[in-house]
């Protein structure tokens, strides 16, 4: 390709602040030429140790204290020092302005890669994707974390570290079950949280007490009312249910349950869009840096180092390789976005048949639409092409413990494409990956026991740790908690039960 003249960017491997600025400016220009819509961003240069700190607190700049983050820190530190693991090149925070961390140990080409990947790639995804728009308030998350940290620190001071720790342990065990999948969460804000916190605490307590006060006074009527369940519909958001209804929690405890729930919700879109998000960021760092190279701004040395890192990141080992650890979301995501561009620009007959609406269309418009309106599950169901399935040589295996052998269900051929695609899409459906557990009933007029029901799919059982989790639920609920499992034939069996002594006297106006 003929190189157009463009001011060369600083070469070499040592970075300086001036060089970072020059790179950011050039990459920003390239991004603008593709109409990439981003939040403004801040680059923060940090040391390796700070990167480990950031790792331990899930990348957030402020976070409350808990032993489990200490554990993550220690294990990261140990592996890093033994050289088993390089630190991630980048951490990027979905906030407005978007914060991207650059580690000081990185070479200049790596910093360029991180800027393109995080500060433009991930950043534009955070800004555009509907899940992030709906679930997270980028402008308020840091403030909310500050509030959470302060509140938890105050609670520790007032009630003791051990008590708060026990509560947080219990909440963390349920963090993945703290999401409303269908409702949008209200916007978070520091002032509002602080001001309304006390108000809400009082109100919540009153609500809970009310619930117990409305119990029918006569045992005679309870027989007929037995049919009415509470909650009326099964509730999938366990933490929300506990926050609103657990009879014995103090207001400050409810607030902490809420904090863990809110933060879990903030990370929910990230869990749902891993393939899309990482693939998007990889696609853009690849595209932006290649654009700059074609303009003559980057040296061959830069490109060689960049391409080596890039190739490592998007490598997919085959199923029988010792390095195989599932499908690499970077590899799949990057390949899919590249494939969509190919379908738009150079569609084959097969593509025209499979994707009539995008074949030959403007790739940037198609990209924006796909990036904004999908999550991993639907993205794969919509855009995974036969070409890509052949490239990855995908095949689908059924492992049924009722059979002696594994069965190959589908491979990358005409009869298998649709089955493969829907199977892979389902693999990214959080609802089928994680056990489906819902609040089923509360024995309002008896022992106040809480019954959770696991809706078993494909005879998949729960693992042993469920019993430990159940103890945490019982701690929060304060009374006996039961876990039942319902199979596909609607047979219900008791999985585990965690007994709690009824602590009379703790319940304000209840009877």
């Amino acid at each position: 390709m003929v190189k157009k003249s463009s001011p060369a960017l600083p070469p070499g491997s040592e970075w300086t602040f001036e060089a970072l600025e020059a790179y950011d400016e050039a990459i920003g220009r390239a991004a603008a030429s593709y109409q990439l819509d981003c939040y403004p961003h801040v680059l923060e240069v940090i040391s390796a140790e700070q990167m480990m700190d950031a790792y331990a607190s899930i990348g957030m700049p402020v976070y409350y204290h808990h032993w489990s983050y200490g554990k993550h820190f220690l294990s990261t530190e140990n592996r890093y020092k033994r050289g088993q693991m390089g630190l991630a090149y980048e951490i990027v925070i979905n906030s407005d302005p978007c914060i991207a961390y650059l580690m000081e140990e990185n070479t200049l080409p790596m910093q360029g890669l991180v800027i393109a990947h995080a500060a433009y790639g991930h950043n534009s995804f955070f800004k555009g994707n509907h899940l992030f728009k709906q679930w997270t308030s980028a402008d308020a998350i840091v403030d909310y974390l500050v509030f959470a940290k302060q509140f938890i620190a105050q609670s520790e001071e007032r009630y003791g570290v051990a008590v708060v720790e026990k509560l947080l342990d219990a909440c963390h065990a349920l963090q993945n079950l703290g999401v409303d999948r269908f409702k949008r969460s209200p916007r978070l804000s520091l002032e509002k949280e602080s001001v309304r916190q006390q108000e809400r605490a009082d109100y919540l307590q009153a609500q809970v007490n009310d619930l117990w006060r409305t119990l029918p006074p006569h045992l005679a009527t309870s027989q007929t009312a037995q049919e009415a369940r509470f909650p009326v519909e099964p509730e999938e958001n366990l933490l929300y249910f506990i926050e609103k209804n657990a009879p014995l929690l103090e207001p400050w405890q409810r607030e902490i349950v809420r904090i863990v729930r809110k933060i879990g919700q903030y990370f929910y879109p990230q869990r749902q869009t891993q393939v899309m998000n990482e693939g998007w960021a990889c696609f853009w760092h690849y595209t932006l840096l290649n654009t700059l190279y074609d303009e003559g701004a980057l040296s061959d040395g830069f490109m060689l180092e960049f391409l080596q890192s890039h190739t490592n990141v998007v490598y997919q080992p085959p199923y029988n390789s010792p390095h195989y650890g599932g499908i690499n979301p970077y590899a799949l995501g990057f390949a899919m976005w590249r494939d969509i561009r190919r379908i738009c620009e150079h569609p084959s007959d097969e593509d025209r048949e499979w994707f009539p609406e995008i074949a030959g269309s403007n790739w940037r418009d198609t990209f924006e639409f796909a990036m904004q309106n999908f999550k991993d599950e639907s993205f794969i169901a919509q855009y995974l092409s036969p070409q890509l399935m052949r490239d990855f040589r995908f095949f689908s295996v059924l492992d049924d413990d009722a059979r002696d052998k594994l069965q190959i269900q589908a491979i990358h051929n005409d009869s298998g494409y649709r089955a493969l695609r829907s199977q892979l899409s389902d693999q990214y459906n959080l609802g089928s990956r994680e056990p489906n557990i819902q609040v089923w009933n509360v024995d309002l007029r008896g022992d106040r026991s809480l019954t959770l029901r696991h809706f078993s799919q494909q005879r998949r059982p729960l693992d042993e740790s469920s019993k430990v989790v159940l103890e945490h639920v019982a701690y929060l609920w304060g009374f006996t908690v039961r876990l039942e499992s319902q199979d596909s034939h609607d047979n219900v069996s008791l999985v585990a039960e965690c007994m709690r002594e009824k602590r009379s006297g703790h319940v304000g106006t209840g009877h």
Binding site: I46, S47, D53, W67, E77, G326, F394, V397, R460
Partner: protein
């Protein structure tokens, strides 16, 4: 959109130290056991380092609701190299590879040890905990080095009490000259001009008035140069230099007769470690000599010192004699601070114990800074203990002894030693 690059490298490190501390606090029981094992494995001279330890991964799991083994799973995998649809394939060995990614790995992982590295401070903290050291002593031992503050020139910032007036004023004078200099030259020129014109022109001549105004302006400008500026301030500078330290030699005397079992040796090891740690705080260079004895004494390396085990009787004086000989040949007492630490179960030949007392009193104690003896036993005291008791009565400054059953009893042996130095 202006770009912000923030350099955070100088921000507070150790953001995770609270979380790290919480983790260690929570699993103190397991960690303490791991540390104890580590101490038994490591050398006396390595006590002052951090340590990589492992605790059971099972204990520290964070449970979540998850699927267990079983049921039906269909998964898509990449890299098909031989399969066609509908084919039946044998389950790979282990039975898990056909299943959803990661699950089986997680189960296997949870049984592994969780490895991590304790820092030197955390390690010592747990070590001290076990030895039941008083806090003052803990601080003394954990401190890296002792420093002295000495004068070291002048700096431009400091606290008001440290202002050096002579330097400050000298700087102020130079600055006033330097800043006011150009005005002074102009002023002189204008004055000369004024002097020249005074005779030919009247006072209200505009030229005269212009000159006078100009002169007044320059005066005002010069007055505005401050007498002392913050820029002139100089402070006496102090820096910390490590205290001069000297060299010491530590003799470890261990009874390796048949009755000294592993448990007793581990107690003895901690006894030696504690003395070593104390010496590292006070001396720059420390040598350690290991002498083990049963009926005869020998100088050995550390490995052999703790691992070998002999049977037969015990002649304690043999070790004391060897120690004396080594001092005479290698560690002249005018150049070395000599410390002795002896551990035994108290058995000795009957007629040897009085010789031990004489040896200590007459030839060894005059040369040593401190000699500590522990008797690791639950039985009744024997003659060596009785003889040493006589010694302790007269030589309390240099000599300490104690009968101990657990590691927590070790510290009182050194109580006088620490009291003196702390």
């Amino acid at each position: 959109m202006p770009l912000h690059i923030v350099d955070r490298r100088l921000d507070s490190k150790h953001k995770s130290s609270v979380n790290r501390g919480r983790f260690i606090e929570r699993f103190k029981g397991q960690i303490r056991k791991a540390v104890s094992d580590a101490i038994n494995k490591r050398g006396i001279r390595d006590i002052d380092n951090g340590e990589k330890i492992g605790i059971s991964g099972k204990d520290i799991e964070e449970p979540q609701f998850a699927h267990g083994q079983g049921g039906a799973w269909e998964t898509v995998r990449p890299g098909n190299d031989r399969f066609s649809s509908g084919e039946q394939v044998d389950r790979p060995r282990g039975g898990s590879a056909g299943r959803g990614g990661g699950k089986a790995g997680k189960d296997g992982e949870s049984l592994d040890e969780f490895m991590f590295t304790l820092t030197r401070d955390e390690f010592l903290d747990i070590f001290f905990d076990e030895l039941a050291l008083p806090n003052l002593v803990k601080q003394h031992l954990a401190r890296v080095e002792q420093y002295r503050r000495v004068r070291a020139g002048y700096t431009q910032n400091g606290v008001p009490t440290n202002i050096n007036f002579a330097r400050t004023m000298r700087g102020a004078v130079s600055r006033r000259i330097a800043v006011g200099g150009p005005y002074a030259a102009q002023l002189r020129a204008l004055m000369a001009q004024l002097e020249e014109l005074k005779d030919s022109l009247t006072d209200d001549d505009p030229e005269m008035q212009r000159l006078r105004a100009e002169i007044a302006r320059l005066h005002a400008k010069m007055d505005r140069v401050p007498f002392v500026d913050t820029f002139d301030l100089r402070y006496n500078n102090h820096i910390r230099v490590p205290l001069p330290s000297t060299q010491a030699v530590m003799f470890c005397l261990l009874d390796v007769s048949g009755s000294m079992d592993e448990g007793r040796k581990n107690i003895a090891k901690r006894f030696f470690m504690l003395l070593y740690l104390f010496l590292t705080r006070n001396y720059e260079r420390i040598e350690v000599v290991f002498i083990r004895h049963h009926t005869v004494a020998a100088e050995v390396d550390e490995d052999e010192f703790f691992t070998s085990r002999e049977s037969g009787g015990t002649v304690v004086s043999s070790a004391l004699k060897l120690m004396h000989k080594i001092i005479a040949t290698r560690y002249p007492s005018n150049q070395w601070n000599i410390y002795g630490a002896q551990a035994s179960d108290g058995d000795n030949w009957d007629d040897d114990s009085s010789r031990c007392r004489e040896l200590l009193a007459q030839s060894l104690l005059p040369l040593t800074q401190y000699f500590a003896y522990i008797e690791i036993t639950q039985g009744p005291p024997q003659n060596l203990w009785e003889e040493y008791t006589k010694l302790a009565a007269t030589q309390a400054d240099h000599f300490a002894m104690r009968r101990i059953a657990t590691v927590a009893d070790i510290y009182p042996v050194f109580r006088d030693l620490f009291k003196r130095k702390v």
